[in-house]
Symmetry: C2
Subunit: 333 residues, 2 copies
Amino acid sequence: MIETPYLLFLGDAPDMLAAKVAIGIRDWRPEHAVGQFRLEGCGADLGLTDMTLAEAKDAGAKTLVIGVANRGGVISKEWKKVLVTALEEGFDLASGLHNLLRDEPDLVAVAEATGRTLHDVRVPSVKYPIADGKKRKGKRCLAVGTDCSVGKMYTAMAMEREMQERGMKATFRATGQTGILITGDGVPLDAVIADFMAGSVEYLTPDNDDDHWDLIEGQGSLFHVSYSGVTMALVHGGQPDALILCHEPTRAHMRGLPEYQLPSLQQLRDTALPLARVANAACQVVGVSVNTQHMGEDEAKAYLAKVEEEMGLPATDPYRFGSGKLVDALAAI
Amino acid sequence: MIETPYLLFLGDAPDMLAAKVAIGIRDWRPEHAVGQFRLEGCGADLGLTDMTLAEAKDAGAKTLVIGVANRGGVISKEWKKVLVTALEEGFDLASGLHNLLRDEPDLVAVAEATGRTLHDVRVPSVKYPIADGKKRKGKRCLAVGTDCSVGKMYTAMAMEREMQERGMKATFRATGQTGILITGDGVPLDAVIADFMAGSVEYLTPDNDDDHWDLIEGQGSLFHVSYSGVTMALVHGGQPDALILCHEPTRAHMRGLPEYQLPSLQQLRDTALPLARVANAACQVVGVSVNTQHMGEDEAKAYLAKVEEEMGLPATDPYRFGSGKLVDALAAI
């Protein structure tokens, strides 16, 4: 668990795109973000109060979160100065960078001397069990995609918010770096050892109240040959009661695989559902989440209507039109 | 690559069951085994010449392979004495034990001093790439099972031998500890980081001659919720042209999962084939390999005949009746 609230470190981010993690925290856990810390020349602005480390400390911040990708995989001198000072002033550090904080001897030395914690969310900090497949209490919903990066995390986040607003019991369960930094907890599934993948998902989504929903962040795709094993572990380890199909209709090919075409939503349903039923015979596909960012509004609405008719399932773009339809479908189970 | 030939260390194995790895080497790569080394009270005997370290060295042995499971996950004093002496006498050591040779400071010190290598095949020694899904030359066959431990390794080994005897180009590709120790090379897939699983299988089965077959050792099962992600990575990373369905008909439930039933061979086919075709549209299911060890001979033959009729595919128990039918089916592709 990463201690909240956070001061969001934007560093010298060239643009908003580089600040994806910080934006996620601001959008989904605004109560976790007391302010932003920017270096000279920073091209990103979250619209949060700019704070010094001391000001953020006074405002209650516990952890400095690196909310930005670094260039060339190197932690620069300018960054390092801030990170060291933050440790000295009593902040923990949290990072999803590929190059780990724990691999920087100066940060390790200062963290030890000051008794602070370095959170590298890219790698697991838990020894996960092997999955035992035992039926768990509570309900679980998993977003599965026709491809990677089609909006699975966003869908689960949006559903969690809507469900909580309705007074339903719901918890987003992070399985990737961004989700872990946003919520302060989770499993970095792509970095887990093969034998323990499904077990780590069981660990992440334990027994719960009968009317509680875990909204499990999806990863990869059963149709993405690079990462399908990770997706499979979610489908079986997650033991989902409900699947949401996620799709981005304008993509020309599978992400990073120019020779591979996206499956149809029907193919995704017909593949994912029987596999999910191995772990939970009661699993149902309850809705479709479409990322329509590359479509005009009329086009998006027409597409969603067509999907609803063809699939016989509620379909929405949760970013554009809200996740209400998907939550209605969950509530009806 | 582990240097061959080997001296097989049986230690104080209580019985033959504990010497599974050594038996595998003797059965499948007899040319790799110059002899066996047994301690006082050893209850296993491979029928190989008992040799001292010096005799084995004279006979050309390069590596002492721990061909036996240890008790309680501890390397005993008696074992240690032999292992240290072996390093001093110029042997490399190879082990598939859970507790790693590299975690024993005395072995590490002696190996460094003598310039010998400690091979822990349970953990990867290669930084594998992320899979790119590019179409590779040569042909690949993958054994997929209704469950774990139904004879997938044995099937691939038996097919390799039969194919080589027929003058076909064939290479068994190990994906587990036993297979790696038998052949001296491979990928310990269950210990690979999730993101790199499919990439490690691509690495293991690269471009080859058009008429060359890689016989990929299967792992887990698409229907085994603990390990299905590993299997999925084989199905996509392996890009198989041919699948062999493997089954053990007398099992009461999935291995280690008392609440889960085995799928039928039809279910296995209908699940595995569409998934395999994501990576290789030409993939076919070519045959069925049945482990009939718990059936009488007549019963086994009747069962195989029934499978052939129901599935429309050649079916055999490669241990009992040879793998000829399966190789015939591959040769016909």
